[in-house]
Amino acid sequence: MGSITLKQVRKSFGDVEVIPGVDLEIHDGEFVVFVGPSGCGKSTLLRLIAGLEDVTSGQIVIDGQDVTQAAPAKRKLAMVFQSYALYPHMSVRKNIAFPLKMAGMPADEQERRVQHAAGILNLTDYLDRRPGQLSGGQRQRVAIGRAIVREPSAFLFDEPLSNLDAALRVNMRVEISELHKKLATTMVYVTHDQVEAMTMADKIVVLRAGRVEQVGSPLELYRKPANRFVAGFIGSPNMNFIEGEAAARMGAHAIGVRPEHFVMSTTEGAFAGTVGVAEHLGSDTFLHIELDGGTPIVARAAGEFPVDHGDRIWLTPQEGRVYRFDKNGLAL
């Protein structure tokens, strides 16, 4: 059980409207990722669901129950914070057991659940340490452990990986995904990193300035972005946009082509340009190209592609991989 429904949820801080009205349906067992640039209101939305902020108007329904006015602890949700928010003076065991202790659970049941959670998260050897004696990844796992033991109906993650280094982030990403498969509990995950969103989500919610721009599975968003913002946000490196005559020829205000959807040639093609920086990674080659009209383009070639700074190059978008946008940025 863990379905969450938001109905016309609005939030303002004083005169500033942070969330102008969001409708959203999260099904039981889904891994939903809120993604968007910083300041887009994704964390606020999560905190509204958690109950740490009061909604200005609208309704939040969890498992069929209206919890709009309910206290955070009554919503049966568990949250993992960006700073982990572990209690520094308690051992790992006491940290994990804290929500159970607050719920007045008998000591032996507490211990059983702590051991179970520690087993899942490989924390058994660290139970008697303090958070200060743990590495970043271990602290992260303790924070997750504290969420697991409550057996909540849904987990909320607020940018949990942003304090970890790159290698650890990839590991923890996989661990959280595995945890989701194992527990099959609803998870709502906030991040500004579209790679995390693409790799982990069942469903991505792209937010901009408090508005939901598009909701869909990772590949849906990749294949059919609803507008220019989503198209530019999803995918790495970002989509290239070409405006002007070339776009007008295709009946659009702007056209977008992803870096991986160019066919490159040193002799002929639709657009001509000059190579600026060439990044040869072996498996891929990323070329930063300036078209003759001055438009900067990033293109990816699979494998090796022997060009260098200053070389002339011609690009042709692949058939059916060109996105067209109108003046307001909506996809045509």
Binding site: L52, A71, M79, F81, F98, P99, M102, A103
Partner: protein, 289 residues
């Protein structure tokens, strides 16, 4: 990374100030130690002579000594309890968002800027005076017999005055500590189902423990030597009811003119302060880890 040369240089540079401070401390201490073994009375000048432990024997066997000892501990303990307890409460209140927070905070700190003699006199004449005092007026307003605080409860009154002076200090330190509490931790506790009391005992108090230790340490150092408040209010009386060790040493030296005996008392006070310091240091070592 400091090289050996830099370390030597650093030691050389701090040496003058260390030596100055050492001399500043060691000269009075040595003189007190010296006087404490002398028969030295201001009423019989030129009669000084070495008399061994006699001064100490006299001072320790003085019935006033044990009363003073007890009063000193009661004074320190009482003020600590009031300031730490009240300080935590005030800090929690001042941490709440409210209108005019800045002004209120400054006003709360104000008593700390008033010199001890002045605040003691204000308390004595404007609050505790049995005829003109505010408390007497209040008592009379409800038809009760005014209490002569400084005569009937002298030590308690002095504890009250000193606590009033030190409450702002404790509040300030604890408020600063409170503001450094991670708000995400509080939110996590809220999600974990902790109520107000549970948050206070499981999160806020442990977080404040370091600041509380600092407050206790600093206040103890100053409270062991409370003097001005006693001098201007009760003069240690009635009898010895509000005499602490500091005041007893003062009266021995400047009221009874027995410098030798007072010096012995001074040395005993130094030893007492060091015993307290050892306990406090251990306590601090534990909380600071």
């Amino acid at each position: 990374m400091a090289t050996r040369h830099q370390k030597t240089l650093a030691r050389l540079m701090v040496a003058p100030s260390v030596l100055l401070l050492l001399g500043w401390m060691i000269v009075p201490l040595a003189m007190t130690l010296w006087f404490s073994f002398q028969s030295y009375n201001l009423l019989s000048p030129g009669m000084e002579q070495f008399i061994g432990w006699t001064n100490y024997k006299y001072f320790l066997s003085d019935p006033a000594f044990w009363t003073a000892m007890q009063n000193t501990l009661l004074l320190v303990g009482g003020v600590l309890v009031i300031t730490v307890g009240g300080g935590i409460l005030l800090a929690l209140l001042l941490d709440q968002p409210m209108f005019g927070q800045g002004v209120v905070r400054i006003m709360v700190i104000a008593p700390f800027f008033i010199m001890p003699t002045v605040s003691a006199l204000v308390w004595k004449n404007m609050f505790m005076n049995p005829v003109n005092g505010l408390f007497a007026w209040l008592a009379k307003a409800v038809g009760a017999q005014p209490i002569d605080f400084l005569a009937q409860y002298p030590l308690m009154s002095i504890i009250l005055i000193v606590a009033w002076q030190w409450l702002p200090f404790a509040t300030l330190i604890l408020l600063t500590a409170l503001q450094s509490l991670d708000s995400e931790q509080m939110e996590a506790a809220e999600m974990d189902g902790a109520g107000t009391w549970a948050k206070f005992t499981h999160l806020i108090l442990p977080h404040l423990s370091r600041a509380i230790t600092v407050v206790i340490l600093i206040e103890t150092i100053f409270l062991l030597s409370v003097f001005a408040e006693i001098l201007v209010t009760t003069n240690g009386g009635p009898g010895y009811q509000s005499t602490n060790l500091t005041y007893l040493v003062y009266s021995q030296a400047l009221l009874q003119f027995d410098v030798g005996g007072a010096s012995a008392g001074g040395i005993i006070a130094v030893i007492l302060a060091n015993i307290v310091a050892i306990f406090l240091m251990r306590m601090i070592g534990k909380t600071l880890e």
